[in-house]
Symmetry: C2
Subunit: 222 residues, 2 copies
């Protein structure tokens, strides 16, 4: 049975799962879920299995949902780790062994705990609010950009010592921030990346991966 990803291509966490599947060169089915008007937070989507295309449980009303046979998952980073471990011998490894994996784990946490919350705040200010006709809050932008700059300084220092974040090869530590960073490239936040040469070179490198090109092609077809 082919794996299914339920969600919208507008969601960075959905693209995160796509990226892991494409790095592994795995077939999967994408089941579109309307998220524009908060559709995925309403019944029948939340109550599930009532729509024409049944969707696994999303207890927090956030896409993606993922199905691998009878296994139903949510939370994108749990899904990518499942894919990386179960398909360890296919495509790009994405994880590594022993002590190196501990450092990959650290940088996965840095993305989830330090980078993403600030990135999402800025994405909201620069993308969602204007789309909804709401003014961008300059004070929120200023505070979030200042905090994000400090986080990106840590990335810059790490990438001055190591080709990739977790170790010397591409892993989930690099893949996890890619979708949100790509989104930020279309906003004024880009300047924070442009000012950091190691970070910019790493982002250009991982953005040029064939698997990511496939993800962007899927996104643009929708």
């Amino acid at each position: 049975m082919v794996m299914k990803v339920h969600g919208s291509v507008l969601s960075p966490p959905v693209l995160r799962v796509f990226a892991a599947l494409c790095e592994k060169d795995l077939e999967f089915e994408f089941v579109f879920v309307e998220v524009k008007a908060g559709e995925h937070k309403k019944e029948p989507f939340l109550a599930l299995n009532v729509s024409l295309r049944p969707c696994p449980p999303l207890p927090f009303g956030q896409v993606p949902a993922f199905e691998d046979g009878d296994l139903k998952l949510f939370e994108s980073r749990a899904v990518t780790q499942h894919i990386a471990h179960v398909f360890a011998d296919e495509g790009t490894p994405l994880i590594c062994e022993g002590k190196s994996m501990a450092t990959v784990g650290v940088w996965m946490e840095v993305e989830a705990q330090q980078f993403e919350p600030l990135a999402l705040k800025l994405r909201r200010e620069f993308l969602y609010k204007p789309r909804s006709g709401v003014a961008t809050d300059a004070a929120v932008v200023e505070e979030s950009e200042a905090k994000l700059a400090k986080v990106l300084d840590v990335y810059e220092a790490r990438l001055s010592q190591s080709k990739y974040l977790g170790c010397d090869c591409f892993t989930l530590a690099d893949l996890h921030p890619l979708p949100t960073m790509t989104t930020l490239m279309g906003t004024p936040v880009r300047k924070l990346f442009d000012a950091r040469p190691k970070l910019s070179a790493w982002l250009a490198d991982i953005s040029a991966r064939p698997a990511w090109a496939k993800v962007l092609a899927m996104r643009n077809q929708q």
Copy 2:
């Protein structure tokens, strides 16, 4: 060389690492770092290795730091996962194999993404602010408690189907929220737990684990 945990017993992430080490019945050294006055965010702590007790890098100025020989880690959840994988055959397993591990992963993400941010907001309102002589913000409390109640409903539903969060045995999915939940038990947020019988029974169960009793004893000795 004995493993070292650098931090303060006032920090739930530090207690999270203690709990993993105690579940594995591993020896470790605790290196106290003064965090009360934001000491750990200042030089020489940030610049490291300048203090009498050298501490590994803490690029975000947040404890714990962890040392296992020449391996230096930060981010508590990365440390607990390292401990669980490297000492897989000792003490409590904390992780499991195959599909069950995917679900453990989902519930580790739920803690990190859904529970902890709200819990920390409430901890700040009920514990940090009063300690600093700052008034608790009733609006923040009301909003955060309403959101946390919904998250705890999801825990309650899960624990109605499964003895533990990730699978039918105690894993990192249960261990990760335990320190912050314990802290909240001493605040008015406790009512949200008391109102949910499955959640309360699970929390009483995991709070009674001998490893957690050891952690609390260490905390109380400091």
